[in-house]
């Protein structure tokens, strides 16, 4: 089946505080050596998609640096491959940004028209899951659907006002979607992944975007549910959206300390998660160090105590330091005797010796990239 992949890489509308001051949410580091976009990108590639467009507009530098030519995902190809789709000025439009999902697609119609694929899978760069989309493709075709939306039964404690709640009939055809409604309507939530017939999508875009309908879900799909064949495809694996809050970001990272989450995300031989590889030496745990219940990336040197934490590449932990319930991103250097609890330390931070940092109660500290404390 010929499917083109499209990934939305985040906007100013995220809740990640200092973590997205200098990067878009798709480029947020996660689980030590990955960036959020690695999951959707790898899922697409593992599902046989070889033509992927990534929409960027907000703080794209670190994302572009990460993606490069697409080599790490086997997307450095002659046919298809990786395309970065940035907003641009042209004689027709001086608008240097995308107003919404549909507008982003509309501004890149040439790319869509030129790709030879018949279907389009639209995903988001800040979702963490490992999924083979191929059964979704089959399901879509079998239903003769115009659009298939990926859905999931919400977990306990889900804040429904942050999701679209989906009502379906007995055939799983979607009859109603309550987008970001604080009232409980249905336990089925929309995961932000669309599968659409390309010809149908192009038609919808031409008909709606010039009339100011810029959002694919709100302005185009929801108002036309009765006229379109929109189906829901249920995903029952691990799925998280990283940009909802700093607390969610923290909890998702900590989830990797659970065996079942590690197994589902990383140990399926057919569905590996690819990322930009670096050549750091294996982690070194020295004499007098103590590491427990932690995820440790290449290049780390540990001389202190590390508990319940996720360490990115090239992190240095000085002797006598105690690191508990922390997420420490790449290249950060913690001198001797630092005591850090429940804290997210962004990249290249230097913590002076003897420094004590603790989140108060349930609060999570975030230390900005490059800070020296």
């Amino acid at each position: 089946m010929r499917v083109a992949g499209l990934i939305l890489s985040g906007s100013t509308k995220d809740n990640l505080d200092k973590l997205t001051l200098k990067r878009t949410s798709a480029a947020v580091p996660v689980f030590g050596k990955y960036r959020a976009i690695d999951f959707t990108l790898s899922n697409m590639v593992n599902s046989g998609i070889t033509n992927v467009g990534v929409f960027t507009q907000y703080n794209p530098r670190s994302l572009m640096d990460h993606l490069g030519s697409g080599k790490e995902w086997n997307l450095d190809r002659k046919r298809g491959g990786l395309f970065i789709l940035q907003p641009f000025i042209s004689p027709q439009s001086h608008k240097m940004y995308y107003e919404g999902t549909a507008d982003a697609l509309f501004q890149n119609l040439t790319y869509l028209r030129r790709s030879y694929e018949d279907f389009v899978l639209i995903g988001s760069g800040d979702h963490i899951y490992n999924m083979d989309f191929r059964s979704l493709f089959k399901y879509h075709v079998k239903n003769g659907a115009d659009v298939t939306l990926l859905t999931k039964t919400a977990e306990e404690g889900t804040n429904f006002s942050q999701y679209g709640q989906v009502i379906t009939d007995e055939n799983n055809r979607i009859t109603q979607i309550y987008e970001k409604d604080s009232k409980y309507r249905s336990s089925k939530i929309f995961l932000g992944v669309y599968f659409i017939n390309k010809a149908f999508l192009l038609e919808m875009l031409y008909a709606n975007v010039p009339n100011g309908k810029f959002d694919l879900l709100k302005d185009i799909i929801i108002p036309n549910l009765s006229r379109m064949r929109v189906f829901s495809y249920e995903f029952d694996g691990y799925w998280k959206n990283i940009k909802k809050s700093v607390e969610d970001y923290y909890n998702i990272n900590m989830d990797i300390l659970k065996e079942e989450v590690r197994n589902e995300l990383f140990y399926l031989p057919e569905r590996k998660i690819y990322t930009k590889l670096k050549d750091s030496a294996p982690p070194k745990i020295n004499v007098n160090a103590e590491v427990s219940n932690s995820f440790i990336s290449d290049g780390c040197i540990i001389n202190g105590i590390v508990r319940n934490s996720v360490l990115s590449r090239d992190v240095y932990i000085g002797a006598g330091s105690v690191i508990e319930d922390c997420i420490i991103l790449q290249g950060s250097y913690l001198e001797e005797g630092s005591i850090i609890r429940k804290t997210i330390i962004d990249k290249n931070v230097r913590i002076r010796s003897g420094k004590k940092l603790e989140g108060i109660g349930n609060e999570i500290n975030v230390i900005e990239k490059g800070a020296v404390l």
Binding site: F31, K33, Y274, P282, N286, N288, A289, S294
Partner: protein
């Protein structure tokens, strides 16, 4: 000035026992995620030498797979890059490489294509960091025909090396290949720089000489000295190891993981590049204990690890204790086992309640030349059944299956060879 590097990677490495039965020595895993040849290759690219020929012969599959098109070393480039040079047949009747000199001789045509001024001749199985520009600059300064990197070795070790005698200006006046009675302690490191014109001429003449063994140490170097050519010794003062025996393999690995390693793999300014695998970071579980060790990505540690190198994708289950050992890629070790002073090769499965490396040293009944330390070696893809007891200085062959056991215990110095 154009420099081309030739890496001799055909070595059989017989003294590594079962480890090199199915594997060229340069492809032997080292240091948690590397293979031996990564050091020489990374030295080349870190020295800005981007045209590299790798001469292969013995068991090249894994090596060639590792090298690929040279991508991890940025050697997938136009106008140079990485070239694999296997022996080949042609109308003029070339064949298996007869010796190190013959291996280069048979590739003269390849070298000529790049019209180098200098050829750097290297080995694929040494562990060291070296900026080759230093030796090349020295070679140019001396206007030498050939320059050999060397270092002082203990008298007791001298018989294993090519030993040089030099004049006060470092010009080599005598060269002894693996001498029984060494005249000095200045040992060749197997790193040579030659003027290409000089080397080509020497190789062509050597090829025509029926009495020659076509070896650099045995033939080319002594003959050049006899003919009064200008050969110089370049003193290397850094860390350099020829990992030739099981004992030195173990020692060198453990040296590199020490707190203040003589060769620092975490040094950002001289990275060692390798074919990295797509694996998540290492997981160290609650209740696990890891001290003085490397634990590579994709590994999961539930037990205790001490003074050991754990390669990628290794699982060490609960209650298991691993000490002073090298555990290569994708090894699975079951529960409540005890492993001491053991090298476990890739893809091996060790059962529950297994004990390896216990007891007292005993001389090997298998091959005293290869297995002569208290280190036990478990081969590739083997299985060790539950409750098995294996002593010191034992060897389990590659591909040993559960049905190959007829004993419950393998005493020190014994083993299973298929």
């Amino acid at each position: 000035m154009r420099v081309l590097a030739i890496i001799l990677a055909g070595g059989q490495g017989t003294r590594l026992g079962v480890i090199t039965n199915n594997l060229a020595k340069p492809a032997v895993p080292f240091g948690g995620k590397y293979r031996m040849i990564d050091f020489t290759l990374s030295n080349c690219v870190n020295s800005n030498i981007n045209t590299v020929g790798v001469v292969t012969q013995y068991m090249p599959h894994r090596l060639v797979e590792h090298l690929g098109i040279g991508k991890p070393w940025d050697l997938d480039i136009k106008g140079g890059g990485l070239h694999i040079l296997p022996p080949y047949l042609s109308r003029s009747g070339t064949s298996w490489y007869q010796g190190t000199a013959d291996a280069v001789y048979q590739n003269i045509e390849f070298i000529e294509r790049y019209k180098p001024d200098f050829v750097l001749l290297l080995s694929g199985d040494h562990v060291y960091k070296m900026d080759y520009n230093d030796i090349i600059d020295y070679h140019i300064e001396k206007d030498a025909d050939g320059t050999i990197a060397c270092m002082e070795v203990p008298v007791s070790e001298a018989h294993r090396f090519g030993i040089m005698v030099t004049d006060p200006f470092n010009r080599i006046i005598e060269f002894q290949e693996k001498p029984k009675e060494p005249k000095g302690t200045l040992a060749s490191l197997g790193i040579y720089v030659f003027k290409w014109n000089f080397l080509k001429d020497a190789l062509i003449r050597d090829a025509k000489d029926n009495t020659s063994e076509h070896d650099f140490g045995k033939n080319i170097i002594p003959k050049s000295l006899k003919e009064n050519h200008m050969l110089y010794a370049f003193n290397f003062e850094g860390y350099w190891r020829d990992v030739g025996t099981i004992e030195s393999y173990m020692d060198c690995n453990l040296e590199i993981i020490s707190s203040l390693p003589p060769l620092d793999l975490h040094d950002e300014s001289w990275k060692i590049y390798t074919q990295s695998e797509e694996l998540p970071p290492a997981f160290i579980a609650k209740g696990a204990s890891v001290v003085k060790s490397f634990v590579s990505e994709g590994s999961e540690i539930y037990g205790t690890v001490e003074n050991s190198v754990i390669f990628q994708g290794v699982t060490i289950s609960k209650g298991t204790y691993v000490k002073d050992s090298i555990i290569m890629n994708n090894v699975f070790i079951g529960k409540n086992s005890y492993i001491e002073k053991t090298v476990i090769a890739e893809n091996t499965v060790i059962g529950d309640s297994v004990e390896i490396g216990k007891g007292k040293f005993a001389e090997s009944k298998i091959d005293k030349k290869i297995y002569n330390s208290d280190i036990t070696v478990i081969g590739f893809n083997s299985k060790i059944k539950d409750q098995m007891i294996i002593g010191k200085n034992c060897v389990i062959d590659n591909e040993v299956d559960l049905k190959d056991y007829d004993v419950e215990e393998i005493k020190s110095g014994e083993g299973i060879l298929k």
